[in-house]
């Protein structure tokens, strides 16, 4: 787990691919998103963090964080994580962005049924992704930008 030192965790990324995780963080930072950032390596780690321990409650509160959730992961996949989070009262209200390469309509539909807020297909062109995260972040008033935003 890596957190921005001294900052409350606002953006949690569950992603098994190190490259993707790194790119997501880099692009968010480059776009000026200054929130605290936590990366979890797979679904099991996510479940441990959110449900099985009280680690999540120590780091942040549910009203001020966004979860970016990959679907295709070893051990426990993103859909299972989403289901468990929505069944678990303290975590049920966390906004969730499904972030994945799969645009299988059945998966999309399942995620929406389980209560995800946005479903984003991982783009090869990153700008669109960052744009989407930013917009959702602004909407949720989670994303923090420096006063004179640096691109």
């Amino acid at each position: 787990m890596t957190t921005f030192a001294g900052q409350p965790v606002n953006i949690i990324l569950v992603e098994d691919d190190d490259g993707h995780a790194s790119l997501v963080e880099k692009n968010l930072r480059r776009a000026g998103v200054m929130n605290g950032f936590l990366r979890l390596k797979d679904g099991q780690e996510a479940l441990t963090y959110f449900v099985e321990t009280d680690q999540f409650c120590k780091d942040c509160d549910t009203t001020s964080c966004v979860l970016l959730l990959d679907i295709k992961m070893p051990k426990v996949d993103g859909i299972e994580v989403l289901r468990r989070l929505k069944q678990n009262a303290p975590t049920a209200t966390i906004p969730v962005i499904m972030l994945t390469t799969t645009d299988d309509p059945r998966e999309v539909e399942k995620c929406y049924q389980l209560g995800c807020n946005v479903y984003i297909t991982k783009p090869v062109e990153y700008e669109t992704f960052v744009d989407a995260v930013k917009r959702l972040g602004f909407f949720l008033q989670v994303v923090k930008l420096p006063p004179n935003g640096k691109k």
Binding site: P95, P123, A132
Partner: protein, 601 residues
């Protein structure tokens, strides 16, 4: 009757070898009573002639008796006339009267003698009578002569002597004996006549009765031999028509038996035919089942293949995300490096050298990587689209092809005008299919036609229907898209519907997926796609699609097990292109129910 019995028993005993056909049997039926009639007529004829004979003999006897009486009477008359002559004297004419009467009596007797020649006894009696009459006449003539000579007293004396009476009585006796015999014969002959008549009557009645009986018997036998068997035959015919088992074979050797035999043979053949038909049918059903199974497994395999392609494409996307992202990072790094090089502490030659590396080597490399990544992404996208064409759930409906084609042409208006081409569409009848899929078909075909026009002549594209849109026997309507473009060489024409086969790679961009998509869509609609082309003249694509709803067609259109809600997002996605292409990352707009996403994006 004996003969008939043999015919009937021939089949059972198999001893009598009389072979009679129906004609002979009918002839027998008619001829037997006829024979009886002839016999009866003969008998009647004989009885008749016997009766006539008897009657003749009766009449003959009566005649003979009459003649005998006549002879007697004339003899008595002659006697009386002679006595009168004697008493009156020679002046009277009684001498002539006596002679005349005697002549008549003699004539009658002579006739009797002739008439009774056949009966010696009676003839003898007549001869006796003739002799006695002659003696009588002789005496009478002598006495009359005496009178003539004047001896009247002598004659009277002679009369008184009763000699005449003796002669008369002798004659009378002879005649009487004849008459008695004749009267006896008369009695016998009268009885004979009566007997003959009786025989005649009996013959007539018994003959009629016998004929009746014989005819009845013949009919009975015919009925048993022919009618009953024809009845069996009729029943068999009915059974054969119903396909039931026939009654046991009819005995005999005539046409009925032959017909029955033929019928049994036909029935046996029919049974064999039915059996083999059943076998064929079962075989056919088995083959049909196999075909259905093969079809199903093929469909499954296709689906599995498409699933495989789909998941592989997605797996390939993951590293592409890294490639794209980190090449961007490199770009940024290069920019940052360039900014860092601006530091004055760095020697000018080093800065220059480093700037060169950044500007040419790194930038070029990154550009090549990015081009490759974009191209890979495009191929993967095509693969996904192709696999989706097979997996997406269709919502069959009546599709207004006319409107669809108009929309497609309008969307391409810019390109068409730029190329200076003319696109003409006939009035197109609707099809039964998925509206989005049908639009994709015409979009691809018309798009291809526009893209591959020949720059050396004004482009002309025509969209129409074959046979005025009349559906064929499979209820398919065939449309065509005809152009006067570059055309497809013969060597390449077999590959036009295969994915990633591009002929004119330099003319238009794309992955060569369009026609493969078209083919897949048409296949899923149960239709056919074909192409005719001549290089330098133009190309015509033919597309057949269902003219109306079909039960099995619908089954195919509904295809996979995906839910219809899931499909809607894909359909929507297909309609506006993939997220990657449009640069529209969020997919929330696909469903109207996803309010938070819709509000954000």
């Amino acid at each position: 009757m004996q003969k008939r019995w043999e015919i009937d028993s021939a089949g059972h005993q198999d001893v009598t070898k009389i072979r009679l056909n129906i004609f002979a049997k009918g002839l027998l039926l008619i001829s037997l009573p006829l024979v009886f009639t002839v016999m009866l007529v003969a008998l009647l004829f004989r009885a008749q002639s016997e009766s006539a004979d008897a009657a003749w003999w009766q009449t003959h006897t009566k005649d003979v008796l009459h003649l005998a009486e006549e002879a007697y009477t004339h003899a008595i008359e002659s006697h009386s006339a002679t006595r009168a002559y004697i008493l009156i004297g020679k002046d009277s004419n009684f001498n002539e009267v006596a002679e005349a009467s005697m002549k008549e009596a003699t004539a009658a007797l002579d006739k009797l003698a002739t008439d009774t020649k056949d009966n010696t006894e009676q003839n003898g009696r007549i001869q006796t009578a003739i002799d006695r009459l002659r003696d009588f006449d002789h005496w009478l003539a002598g006495e009359r002569a005496r009178v003539g000579q004047g001896d009247q007293a002598g004659a009277i004396e002679q009369v008184r002597s009763r000699k005449g009476v003796v002669h008369s009585e002798a004659f009378n006796e002879a005649i009487d004996s004849f008459k008695k015999e004749e009267e006896r014969l008369d009695t016998i002959r009268t009885a004979a006549v009566q007997r003959a008549r009786q025989v005649q009557r009996v013959t007539l009645i018994s003959g009629a009765l016998a004929m009746f009986v014989v005819s009845g018997a013949a009919l009975l036998v015919f009925g048993k031999s022919v009618a009953a068997r024809v009845g069996v035959l009729t029943q068999n015919a009915g059974r054969m028509a119903d396909g039931r088992e026939l009654l046991p074979a009819i005995t005999g050797t005539d046409e009925i038996a032959q017909l029955d035999e033929a019928m049994h043979a036909a029935s046996a053949k029919l049974a064999t035919a039915a059996e083999s038909e059943l076998l064929f049918k079962r075989e056919l059903e088995r083959r049909a089942d196999e075909l259905v199974r093969a079809n199903e497994s093929l469909r499954q395999q296709t689906q599995e293949n498409e699933m495989f392609v789909y998941s592989v494409s997605h797996d390939l996307r993951s590293p592409l995300v890294n490639l794209q992202g980190f090449s961007k990072e490199l770009e940024f790094a290069g920019q940052e490096l360039g900014e860092t090089l601006a530091d004055e502490r760095i020697p000018a030659d080093v800065r220059k050298r480093a700037q060169q590396v950044i500007d040419s080597d790194i930038k070029d490399s990154v550009r090549f990587i990015q081009t490759a990544v974009t191209r890979s992404a495009s191929i993967i996208d095509s693969l996904l689209r192709l696999s989706r064409a097979g997996r997406v759930v269709y919502r069959p409906e009546n599709v207004d092809v006319n409107g669809t084609v108009k929309r497609v042409i309008d969307a391409m208006r810019g390109t068409i005008e730029m190329k200076g081409a003319t696109v003409k569409a006939q009035v197109l009848l609707p099809v039964w299919g998925d509206a989005t899929a049908v639009e994709q078909i015409f979009g691809n075909l018309i798009g291809n036609a526009v893209n591959y026009l020949d720059a050396s002549r004004p482009g002309f594209i025509e969209v129409g229907m074959l046979n005025g849109g009349t559906p064929d026997r499979a209820r398919m309507r065939t449309y065509y898209v005809r152009d006067n473009g570059l055309g497809i060489p013969e060597a390449h024409i077999n590959k036009v519907f295969v994915a990633f086969q591009r002929l004119h790679g330099d003319v238009a961009k794309g992955e060569g997926i369009g026609l493969a998509l078209v083919r897949r869509i048409i296949e899923r609609h149960g239709g056919r796609a074909s192409v005719e082309s001549t290089v330098g003249v133009g190309t015509t694509f033919f597309v057949s699609l269902p003219a109306e709803a079909r039960s099995e067609g619908e089954a195919e259109l509904k295809g996979s097990s995906e839910s219809s809600i899931a499909s809607s997002s894909v359909v929507a996605d297909e309609a506006r292109g993939t997220a990657l292409k449009d640069g529209n990352g969020a997919r929330g707009g696909a469903g109207a129910t996803k309010e938070p996403a819709g509000a954000v994006i």
